[in-house]
């Protein structure tokens, strides 16, 4: 039970972040320069890659941010300062990349160096802290996310970062990237929908017939402990056999390798959270409301659709959020069995020891998972606010 500390004159988090940022700027490279993909990178400091006025301007902005971080308590100003800092940092790195790239050269690879990453993380923490303190409502959070994505997307589209190594990799793989991204979404979303179609009725059944709960949930729990690649692999043989024996299946695209085993495995992994959360959600609906509904003459199905499911919705949506985030991550591994998705870039990058390729896959995955989480969380909170369903849950 902590008592909030009296307002310090110097903000501690600000102190920590400023120290980290300053140390990084002095001790770590601002960008890393490689004359081609294979050679090891050479560090470049801030003043080596930007004209003096730019370097000084950039440092001035950082100093301003440090001052805000140390002394300003107002959440909005801190957020504004942090976001401004991130934008300026991004532009500085992009400018550095542009400056170091000889015109027309597509071979050099320039990546943000340690200092840039530390600064990004520090400014990011400052922004996150400010947002946390402001406690925005669900709509505000979604808008903030959308705004960030739009601005970042626009910057990427107009080519601000084209000379960065990650974007170079993108340029090489542009066509495939779009395909794999869509495929990734397809696999993650598709398995979720399949799990909902099967899992929701199963959950309702488990709620109505309590005897089913231990065996069903127990089985699903066992499925969860099987590591993902193992499950993918285990499904390959039967699906391959199915494709071989039943032509219709092969025509549908079901084969031993590729997307089919991945989708089936993801479907199986998604069942437990959906079924479990459906059961928990239904259990928390107040008995009185259900009894009153029955007593008023609603049929069992009417009670389910008008009372129980709407009131269980927030918990069920929490299960959906968990599954969606989990699936977006697991589709990455599907690349190992030829399933496609952004994981192909990740594992190719690992194989070629090219971090930029890895980042090309990993960054969109993280952005997708994070966005899904924010959106669904906002939806859950919005639902809860309009009904204060917690008032309807049993104590």
């Amino acid at each position: 039970m902590a008592i909030t500390a009296p307002r310090q004159r110097v903000d501690r988090l600000g102190l920590l972040l400023t120290a980290a940022g300053a140390a990084a700027l002095i001790g770590l490279p601002f960008v890393v320069f490689k004359s081609n993909r294979i050679v090891p990178g050479e560090p470049r400091a801030l003043h080596e890659v930007l004209p003096l006025w730019a370097a000084l301007g950039f440092q001035a902005v950082l100093l301003g941010d440090a001052a805000v971080a140390l002394g300003v308590a107002d959440g909005r100003r801190r957020l504004a300062a942090a976001l401004a800092g991130i934008v300026v940092l991004a532009l500085a790195v992009a400018a550095a990349a542009n400056g170091l790239t000889p015109p027309g050269n597509k071979v050099v690879r320039i990546a943000p160096g340690g200092a840039s990453w530390v600064l990004l993380v520090s400014l990011g923490l400052m922004a996150t802290d400010a947002i946390t303190r402001l406690r925005p409502g669900p709509l505000a959070r979604v808008l903030l996310l959308a705004l960030t994505l739009v601005i970042a997307g626009a910057a990427l589209a107009i080519g601000t970062f084209d000379n960065l190594s990650v974007m170079r990799e993108y340029a090489v793989n542009a066509g495939r990237f779009r395909a794999e991204l869509l495929r990734h979404l397809w696999l993650a979303g598709g398995s979720l929908i399949a799990a909902l179609i099967v899992g929701l009725p199963l959950g309702i059944l488990c709620h109505r017939v309590p005897r089913l709960r231990p065996p069903l949930l127990g089985t699903l729990n066992v499925v969860q402990t099987i590591p993902a690649i193992a499950l993918f692999g285990i499904l390959m043989a039967p699906l391959g056999a199915l494709a071989a024996r039943v032509p219709a299946a092969a025509a549908l695209g079901i084969r031993g390798i590729g997307a089919a085993p991945a989708v089936v495995a993801l479907f199986l992994y998604s069942l437990l959270p959906i079924v479990a959360d459906t059961v928990v959600g239904l259990r928390r609906v107040s008995h009185e409301a259900v009894e009153a509904a029955l007593g008023m003459g609603m049929t069992d199905n009417q009670v389910l659709s008008r009372i129980e499911l709407p009131l269980a919705l927030p918990v069920i949506l929490t299960g959906i959020r968990v599954v969606l985030v989990q699936n977006i991550g697991m589709v990455t591994i599907a690349a190992l069995i030829g399933g496609g998705g952004l994981g192909t870039f990740v594992f190719q990058g690992i194989g070629q020891n090219a971090i930029d390729l890895v980042l090309l896959g990993a960054i969109p995955i993280v952005v997708l998972a994070f966005s899904a989480s924010v959106l669904l969380d906002a939806l859950i909170e919005a639902l809860d606010r309009t009904t204060s369903v917690s008032a309807g849950a049993r104590a």
């Binding site: 009185e288 409301a289 009894e291 509904a293 007593g295 008023m296 009417q302 009904t387 369903v389």
Partner: protein
Amino acid sequence: MIRIENLTKQYDATTVVDDVSFDVERNSITVIVGTSGSGKSTLLRMINRLVEPTSGRVLLDGADTRSEPAHLLRRRIGYAIQGNGLFPHRTVAENVATVPRLLGWPEERIRARVTELLEIFQLDPALYASALPHQLSGGQQQRVGVARALAAEPAVLLMDEPFGALDPIIRDKAQEDLLDIQRRFGTTVVFVTHDMDEAFRLGHRIAVMSQGRLLQYDRPATLLTHPADAFVARMTGLSDRALKLLALTTAGEAALPGSSDGPRVASSASLREVLSELLWRRADSALVSGEDGAPCGRLTVAAILARAHP
């Protein structure tokens, strides 16, 4: 109006309701009273078939309640329970409109009925119709619960300890409101409670249950003057039965012709209240005045005492 015939309910080896029979008169309040475990709630719920009897039957206006699907039966019977069971995700108006909607009433009629009921229950429609249950106080929620039960103009209203969770002042008002509503709509009410005082206040007839069996079914006064056994006597209260008996009669009912220069009492006051007032003022007689204020008789201490025993 409601005939309960040999209702029995058994769960495995336990008999929760044991061969209970009685009749409920139209346009009255019947209170089923007993301690927890007496089977009173189960009995009530066999009337609207939330619990199906092991044996016996319920006749509603002469027709067996099993002659139609349960959910259709329940749409004709009002049901109010402890804790209300208001739907937290629906507004007050939507809650009240539930059964009329299930019955397919036209929108206009529903809207009118909801407004009418909210006004009767002293919930300003402009303020409360689109409020959510959690925004209301406990007493307001309870009123919405009863309004919801009456929305479709049922002839029968079943209530299972609906005022149990209210604090004494609000409960008192709720009981008063129920008496008013019953008089106004002429509904036949079956009310379950463990509170004997509540039973005496509300019931035209009281059914005393213990361990699944019906011990006595009578008017409140008869329960006091002629209890069926020692258990019933204890339940109704041995220590102040004389005063309880006096509380059942009003001054207006017992007034003698004549006048008095003693204190004025309303004809709606109970004999118990009149006696208390006379003792306090050290007077021998009181002047009874009707609702309009005009005198309609007198009451003496002696006359009152004459009614304090069987």
